[in-house]
């Protein structure tokens, strides 16, 4: 069973989510619902998934992560993965996900790699 929790929001709008436990086939729908609920409530720009507590995952979960990436991209942000254990990291690499989603050693490294948020257009127009 997997548990997804919003650990904190790193200013200005990066949500850090911790995933703990294991993702079996039957756990994937619940994981999807949890992520989508947190994402909608927190309304972040970027999302960092802390996977250091994730001990096992199955391929439909990887499909879910790719869909989450699409969701975050549509909002103009970036999804990053942090703290993968060796086994889960191997699955991500074998499926070439590391080409799409940055795999950072830990949350702080992932945060350092994120693009900085652009100044909102409203502030720009205030000058003109």
């Amino acid at each position: 069973m997997i548990e997804i929790t919003l650990v904190r929001v790193h200013p200005p709008r990066t949500a850090i989510l911790r995933l703990a436990g294991e993702v079996n086939y039957v756990d994937v729908p619940g994981a999807e619902q949890s992520f989508e609920r947190i994402y909608q409530n927190a309304n972040p720009l970027h999302v960092v998934l802390d996977l250091s507590g994730l001990t096992f995952l199955v391929t439909p979960f990887i499909g879910a992560v790719l869909c989450w990436r699409e969701m975050v991209l549509r909002g103009g942000g970036v999804l990053a993965l942090a703290g993968c254990r060796s086994g889960t990291e191997a699955a991500f690499r074998h499926l070439l996900l590391d080409r799409l989603i940055p795999l950072a050693a830990d949350v702080e490294s992932a945060l350092a790699r994120l693009p900085t948020e652009q100044t909102p257009k409203k502030e720009d127009s205030a000058h003109g």
């Binding site: 079996n24 096992f56 086994g87 699955a91």
Partner: protein, 159 residues
């Protein structure tokens, strides 16, 4: 009675030793962790390191999920069997089912980076184990997955 045999990567070794254990499993996804726990213990006995054990366990897990979802169409009253053998050079798991014949070799390698829910199991299995052998006959289907020990890998890679 004819059988179709498909082999990928290497020819089958044909160990001939009796299985360490055989599990008869109902076709229910929620029971898959039972298979996983048994495999993790075998990997420990085979001195697989954590990464190798995870790879082999995940490959067998995905293969069993394919049986449940595709060969047996989630019909929980259908049973599949998992047999595990240890050989001098690695561990082999064979998954036996009596569902829809499945031509493992004919499954294309879909781009795993495309955003879709499923369709990555076979792609991953091919990359996580050292040998995949699929047989289909009127008696049923058998998928054999073999993973070498680290020592055997080192010997294979030596010049």
């Amino acid at each position: 009675m004819s059988a179709t045999v498909h082999t990928e990567k290497e020819p089958a070794s044909g160990h001939g030793s009796p299985p360490l254990f055989a599990l008869s499993m109902r076709s229910e996804l929620q029971l898959l962790p039972v298979v996983r726990l048994a495999l993790e213990e075998v990997c420990r006995l085979a001195n697989f390191d954590a990464s190798r054990a995870h790879e082999f366990t995940l490959a067998v897990y995905e293969a069993c999920a394919n049986v449940i979802l595709h060969a047996h169409q989630k019909q929980a009253d259908r049973v599949y069997r998992v047999e595990v053998c240890m050989t001098s050079d690695g561990v082999e798991a064979s998954i036996h089912d009596q569902g829809t014949p499945f031509d493992f070799q004919a499954v294309p390698d879909l781009d795993p980076t495309q955003p879709r829910r499923g369709g990555r199991g076979v792609y991953l299995i091919r990359r996580l184990v050292d040998r995949v052998t699929a047989e289909s006959s009127p008696a049923g289907n058998v998928l054999r997955l073999f993973k070498r020990t680290a020592a055997e890998d080192a010997m294979k890679e030596a010049p």
